[in-house]
């Protein structure tokens, strides 16, 4: 994996909302084809970090580089950059007034100026891939949370981004719908997509990640392979964090057999 070039890189970034630092000197390299999962307690800054990576949040210091080019200095053409960095959100954020297919083709047609017919065909293929072709003319309100999130993933994919950001995409879902969404992401991972994922689903994190990055207090505390992180966390904080999940699961140990 390390042989691949660095696709997206954060260099010493600092984010401050004005009441204390949210991100405190974070540096991270994401190589092409790599799947990095960010974990950490709520409010640790992992979602903020993700949002900084495509400019939804401004950083106060440091640099972000995409394909070796600094995108956080001078006049960045964010619309252009963001087409290369796809993002899926916790609350799906589909356009409620548009049908599923219109939600998906809006980006390619209006932003990238691609041919509507060709894009529609591609959208249908992608919908089929996530098992939702029969819902293409439905409106978001007619879909379950899991279905909405799969549509949102397709909407990000169709722009052919170089990297995908997932911001707690299953956090708002009913438990039985989490799986259908995570399965889609696992499939994308195995087909070579570069991804940066924020999640609280530890078993999923372990299954999908090439590298786990543990963030606490706006800092990267640990960065390791999933195997090492989940079996032998190096720091006390990581151990405490992982323990909360074991307690939450009523004594059941985290295993790698699921997913």
């Amino acid at each position: 994996m390390a042989k691949q070039p660095v696709l997206l890189e954060a260099k010493n970034i600092i984010k401050d909302y004005g009441n204390g630092q949210v991100l405190n000197d974070i540096s991270l390299q994401i190589h092409k084809g790599e799947v990095i999962v960010l974990v950490g307690p709520s409010g640790c800054g992992k979602s903020t970090f993700l949002r900084c990576m495509n400019g939804l949040e401004q950083i106060q210091a440091g640099q972000i580089l995409l394909d070796g080019e600094v995108i956080t200095e001078g006049k960045t053409d964010w619309p252009k950059v963001r087409q290369k960095i796809g993002m899926v959100f916790q609350s799906y954020d589909l356009f409620p007034h548009m049908s599923v297919i219109d939600n998906i083709i809006l980006g390619p047609v209006k932003v990238q100026g691609r041919d509507k017919k060709e894009v529609t065909e591609e959208a249908e293929k992608l919908l089929d891939r996530v098992g939702l072709l029969d819902k293409k003319d439905a409106y978001p309100r007619q879909l379950s949370g899991g279905q909405k999130q799969r549509v949102a993933i397709v909407r990000a994919l169709i722009l052919k981004p170089e990297i995908l950001l997932f911001d707690e995409v299953t956090a708002a879902l009913d438990p039985e719908m989490v799986r259908e969404v995570l399965d889609v992401i696992l499939e994308l991972a195995s087909s070579g997509y570069t991804m940066l994922i924020v999640t609280h689903e530890m078993q999923f994190a372990r299954a999908v990640a090439d590298r786990i990055v543990f963030i606490d207090g706006g800092k990267i505390v640990e960065s390791d392979t999933p195997e090492a992180f989940f079996t032998q966390p190096k720091t006390d904080r990581a151990r405490r964090f992982l323990n909360t999940f074991i307690y939450a699961k009523d004594g059941e140990k985290l295993t790698s057999d699921s997913y």
């Binding site: 963001r82 796809g86 356009f95 007034h97 980006g107 932003v111 309100r141 909407r155």
Partner: protein, 220 residues
């Protein structure tokens, strides 16, 4: 009940009222819609925050909105005369009506656009949508039911304002009501104008609501 001249007058009055109301609403939106869009996007939480532009427009809107319409009507008479050539009659009333309506419409547009879910806007931005695409495809498209309700409210309000213009010879049903009902004590004619005004408001309100419901995709 009424002779032919009176009936003709009432029909003409209704026409004049509709003409003033609809044309003023149209002009009001030509100014108010961009105004509302700029207010919504330049505010702190907007997609193009700009304190200076927001504060200036915000001040102008508040200033204009705090002048009672009856006084505005008289205040802008020189301007009306300059634009229309006379300061009385239906066409002349359109000038103060538009001036009163535009900031009011701008505010309603602003508040409609601010109701659009921030997440949806971010989703569009994360797809690479620029400011124009976000305004057109997300803000206006997603706020359309709210905007249409706003149009209905605007028409109702402007219709009410147009009747006030009757005091200074503005033409239309308000003019008739004041001339006959107030100055000549012909209560019958006044009541008829009120009934017509009520029916007009009901019809326009009903149409607006129907349309806005039809365009709403959020509910079953």
């Amino acid at each position: 009940m009424f002779d032919e001249t009176t009936v003709n007058m009432l029909i003409e009055g209704t026409g004049a009222t509709l003409y003033m109301t609809l044309v003023s609403t149209l002009f009001g939106y030509i100014v108010g819609l961009p105004l509302g869009i700029i207010l919504a996007i330049t505010d702190k939480t907007g997609i193009k925050p700009n304190v200076v532009i927001y504060k200036i427009l915000d001040f102008i809107v508040n200033l204009t909105r705090s002048i009672p319409f009856l006084i505005l009507l008289i205040l802008v008479m020189p301007l009306t005369k300059l634009i229309v050539g006379q300061s009385y009659g239906s066409a002349a009333t359109i000038v103060p009506l538009t001036i009163a309506a535009a900031p009011f419409i701008g505010r309603m547009v602003e508040s409609s656009l601010k109701e659009v879910d921030k997440g949806v806007i971010e989703a569009a931005q994360s797809m690479g949508a620029g400011t124009f695409t976000v305004i057109w495809k997300v803000l206006l498209a997603e706020a359309r039911t709210s905007l249409l309700v706003g149009v209905t409210i605007a028409i109702g309000t402007i219709l009410g304002y147009s009747a006030m213009a009757g005091v200074v010879g503005g033409g239309g049903l308000g003019d008739i009501a004041i001339r006959y009902g107030y100055y000549r004590y012909e209560t019958g004619i006044m009541i008829v104008t009120i009934v017509i005004l009520v029916i007009l408001v009901q019809i326009l309100q009903g149409l607006g609501m129907m349309l806005s419901k039809k365009l709403d995709r959020r509910q079953a």
